[in-house]
Subunit: 360 residues, 2 copies
Amino acid sequence: MPFRFNYIATILEENVSRLTRATIRDVAHAAGVSVGSASRALNGGRNVSARVIEEVAQAAKQLGYQPDFLARSLRTRSSGMVGCLVSDIANPLYAEIVQAAEGRLREAGCLLVVASTGNDPKREQDAVAEFRGRRLDGVLVAPGSDTNEKSWRALAEAGTAVVILDRDPPSSDDGPFPSVLVDHRGGAVAATRYLLGLGHRRIALLTPGARMRPGRERIAGFRQAFADAGRSLDGALVCPQESSMDFAYSAALAVLEAPARPTAVIALGTRILAGTLRAARTLGLSIPEDLSVVSVGDTDIAAVHTPAITALRWSLEDVGRAAAELLLQRLKGDGTTAPPRALLPVDLVLRESCAPPTRT
Amino acid sequence: MPFRFNYIATILEENVSRLTRATIRDVAHAAGVSVGSASRALNGGRNVSARVIEEVAQAAKQLGYQPDFLARSLRTRSSGMVGCLVSDIANPLYAEIVQAAEGRLREAGCLLVVASTGNDPKREQDAVAEFRGRRLDGVLVAPGSDTNEKSWRALAEAGTAVVILDRDPPSSDDGPFPSVLVDHRGGAVAATRYLLGLGHRRIALLTPGARMRPGRERIAGFRQAFADAGRSLDGALVCPQESSMDFAYSAALAVLEAPARPTAVIALGTRILAGTLRAARTLGLSIPEDLSVVSVGDTDIAAVHTPAITALRWSLEDVGRAAAELLLQRLKGDGTTAPPRALLPVDLVLRESCAPPTRT
DNA sequence: GATGGATTTGGAAACGTTTCCAATTCCTCT
DNA sequence: AGAGGAATTGGAAACGTTTCCAAATCCATC
């Protein structure tokens, strides 16, 4: 059928000269069918004859046809894009989650757009609005603060599927969102119980604060482990603090210089761990003889340090993938079922940084 | 004008009941103007009377109108989105770049979509095609391999603005892309010269290989510093190697156990640094007395280690921001000017891990 | 007050899809 | 062979914008 080839040649030539891509109209024309049929043939092939599918596929291939997702999205009201909103993408904690989520979403043909908020509620709300304007199909979000009502409201009103990353929505809000939670409480219990089991009684929990779910849960777990063991907890040993490096150092120093110095420390986060290790060195405390250390979060530093630091570990990859999964499920499903909730385990990785306390 | 308020009320009611958002048509109708005028009034206000602008703005506000970016993009052929393609977003190296780029792009009203390729050329090309299909305005990309012709071709044919992150396109290709490069060579020269100046003669360069620009440039800088000093370079001291943690450890071990063991090591990357430090510990070599160490890349480990490790540092934030800047410039401009090229400096951060070699 | 140009306006045509609807074709069964 | 239903098809209407074009209005000048 020379006609078709001529036609294709014509279109190709036009495209080259105009620097414009082939549209489905070109494909349809080249295949000698209507636009509607071409569309049907290209998508799934519901209600099209095999012949048409074949013809269209061939024409599409010859023209190098690539569908325009924008146009499709406009029509179908689904952009095939998902947003991820975290305070700081550069934070390895979030970076790995983003990475894993992107992987799963790509399998489903979704793109992931990222935005960091720098913990600014204003920017959080702006980003949600922006996402909404772009008709993103869903959002993975770790609000910078659990308690900012406005942000939660913005999410509720965004009208897209939402999955929360390791945060607790204010309980009262209308229909909590699906969420992926990490069992920080269980982890803290395990770590504390372990130290108690080694014989430690004065244990310091160095935490950047209880503003958000992870911190809250860890503190709760810490207390719970003491309660379970029938031991009373010296409240002063929970030390909420800022997490800047220098501050962590001086705070750790203060704790370790106290008259009844703790014999074990649970350090939350990279910075606090680093500050603690440095403080221990400054004071000439050797680990684990003079001081046992557990890191919450298994970072490079914990793994590489000498001695290697016992750490609580959870899979960020799982968090990301579970979040993507939940979201996809939400997008497919009718959304009428109760919001699902994934709780991911935390493991205690035993290394060399803990030992029974020496009597002094 | 009760008519208008009634109308607005009607639209709002419809929207609530249909769960559909107000369109520009609604706004125009509510304001009593044509759709065209409404559009003009909402964008910039070129060729519209002040009265119309006012009316439209008010109607838009009352209806909670939010423009639909998809529709706009379809019409204007510009999606306001930029892609970022790297091997691994979770790698802190890239994560920070992404973070910075996103910040700058947001200022310009662009969204950033990310994709990681896992160093798979196939996925790289797929992603470029996907981006193209979504009509992304541009791409920031760090190809997983400098040498894969196909990937470069895919980029060239993508028809979008491209900015390369710290990679060298094959020289011959048609019109190289704008790029943001880091002066790894200069950094390597500085580090090597510094060690030579301290009196070191046997210096090992532990590198994950020369497959990509950063490695190549560092090796070149290393050689150059020797040449500049009029010293001959023992070729064996350049040790290309895989960068898995265990492998890095055993490789470092092998180097440090060699008969004429090097008195200084330049370690490229987190893993190799960690492996080197561990190997030194294993062999009972103390730093810096028995072994001087320079880290290429200023990571947590380098900064926190005891002794703190002297490191080559460059600003990932600058890389990200410069890349975004270049891309935006490219998007605004006619693109006819020569592709710009940003070269970012590398600094040697002096810490405690280097000293003159002891005569043994 | 008519003339002319500049400004503002409304209507409609894109942008590239998908999907609805009616019309056509194709089977199968009487 | 004709009827009836299922499958396929073409044409057109959306989706929500921006932008083009021609018509209408304005304002100053003659």
